[in-house]
């Protein structure tokens, strides 16, 4: 399988209390075509900085190599309310990526939007609504749809279900699985919920203080962790989720 993304020796430097501080501290990995790679870690471990550096949202003080083998990847954010323009109708929001890309007639754009709506299981009426008229789950579906309009090969999902209710979470995860299968989409899935990571991903990376401390097939990382920190993380999850 070919790589869609390669990251080599990536550093992201910030200044904290006038001392340099590496939010991402020498990270290397690759994502293969059609795979879901999980990135687990606690808050402040640098997972958001990593994803934002990959996407080029942070450019300053980023060193290392980020090689994209495909079109630019897209992102789904944690808070679906904040990632939709509050003043635009859903129809506009979904058309916008195509307008920016250019080369589509009005009819072609409308047809693409309709296709996408069916793909993410949203009703047509939604096109005329504003983001604040939708439920959290619907909004996240719109975000995913918008992110896929330009047909990227790689999707970065940063805690896409953490702000949602449990029942909605499972629906969105099902949707991601389905899209992954139907579009042969590669996904970098960032989450703090180890159960979700295990259910969704093929390979898993564990991040701590800007470093990737563990990486491998999910069963290996979950049940035979090499790194002491991964072991602590797994034990914590076990006490939390298993009744003794």
């Amino acid at each position: 399988m070919e790589n869609v993304l390669e990251v080599k020796d990536l550093y992201v430097k910030f200044k904290k209390d006038k001392k340099p501080f590496y939010a991402v501290d020498g990270v290397s990995f690759e994502i293969k075509e059609g795979e879901i790679l999980g990135l687990a870690g606690e808050s402040g471990c640098g997972k958001s900085s990593l994803s934002r550096a990959i996407l080029g949202i942070i450019k300053k003080n980023v060193t290392g190599e980020i090689i994209h083998y495909t079109k630019r990847p897209q992102m789904v954010f944690q808070d679906p309310a904040g990632s939709l323009d509050p003043g635009k109708r859903i129809g506009f929001i979904l058309e916008e990526p195509l307008k920016i890309q250019g080369g589509f007639s009005k009819e072609e754009r409308a047809a693409e939007v309709m296709n996408m709506l069916h793909l993410v299981d949203l009703p047509e009426e939604i096109l005329n609504r504003f983001p604040d008229e939708l439920s959290g789950g619907q909004r996240q579906r719109v975000c995913i749809a918008a992110a896929l309009m330009q047909k990227p090969k790689l999707l970065i999902a940063d805690e896409p279900v953490s702000a949602l209710d449990v029942t909605v979470q499972s629906q969105i995860l099902e949707l991601l699985k389905k899209l992954h299968k139907e579009l042969n989409l590669s996904v970098l899935f960032i989450s703090h919920d180890l159960r979700v990571v295990y259910n969704l991903c093929d390979r898993v990376m564990v991040m701590k203080s800007g470093k990737i401390v563990d990486m491998g097939l999910k069963d290996e990382v979950f049940f035979n962790p090499k790194d002491p920190y991964t072991r602590i993380l797994m034990d914590a999850a076990r006490t939390k989720y298993v009744k003794n």
Binding site: M75, G82, D85, E96, I100, Q101
Partner: protein, 267 residues
Amino acid sequence: MEVNKNKRIKLILGITLTGIIFIMLLLGIIKTPYDPMEMSSELKLTGASFKHIMGCDQFGRDVFSRILVGVKETLIVAGAVVLIGSFFGTILGTITGYYGGILDEILMRITDAVLAFPSILLCLLIISLLGGGRNTLILALGIAFIPSFARIIRGEVLKIRSLDYIYSVKLFGASDLRIIFIHIIPNLKKVLLSTVLIGFNNAVLAEAGMSYLGMGVQPPMPSLGRMLSEAQTYIFTNPSIALFPGLIIVMMILGFSLLADAVSDLK
């Protein structure tokens, strides 16, 4: 429930007061009962009567007619000032807020300097350079109003700029211009509306103040501030000619403030 009631009272009162002012503005444009410039020696300083409902001033001119025209003049000045202030303020605030960096630093220091400088003094400076009159007053007050607008808009743009939806549009490859005009400026609407209403108030007061000092609308044209300043001499003998323009200014300010408040309360 209590809160809602208050809001509704505010809105209704605000609309009523601004409505009255608006009708006066229309009358001032279409037709006044008397020529506001026509003097008459018999009618000098006569009080209110059925013919002259607000009485006549020291030159025998009908106060009501003069107020109608004065409202028009004052609103023209205030409107133009707010237009200049909000237009350039929005441009400056959006550019500095969006791009940040050195440009932001420089422009914000300049606005700091302008803000720190008393605006009356600034206006005096410009007027003494360009000569008095309505248009210079508009220019002077307009310039004095830009920094405060720029500040507010910049703050809002800073907030919007770091929202996820701007990132997501950036990831689609949108240009800066597209982001600014399609995704940022339309979302400034609400902030802009309430700032404009408050700014309008300040402009009315500033116009009145400057004309009172004799630097705005030139005689014999009336403006509310001018009329107040002219009535000053007769404040003890004929308080009514000062009372009416003053009352109208109060109504105007109160109306716009209430309206601005009600608008900013609307979700």
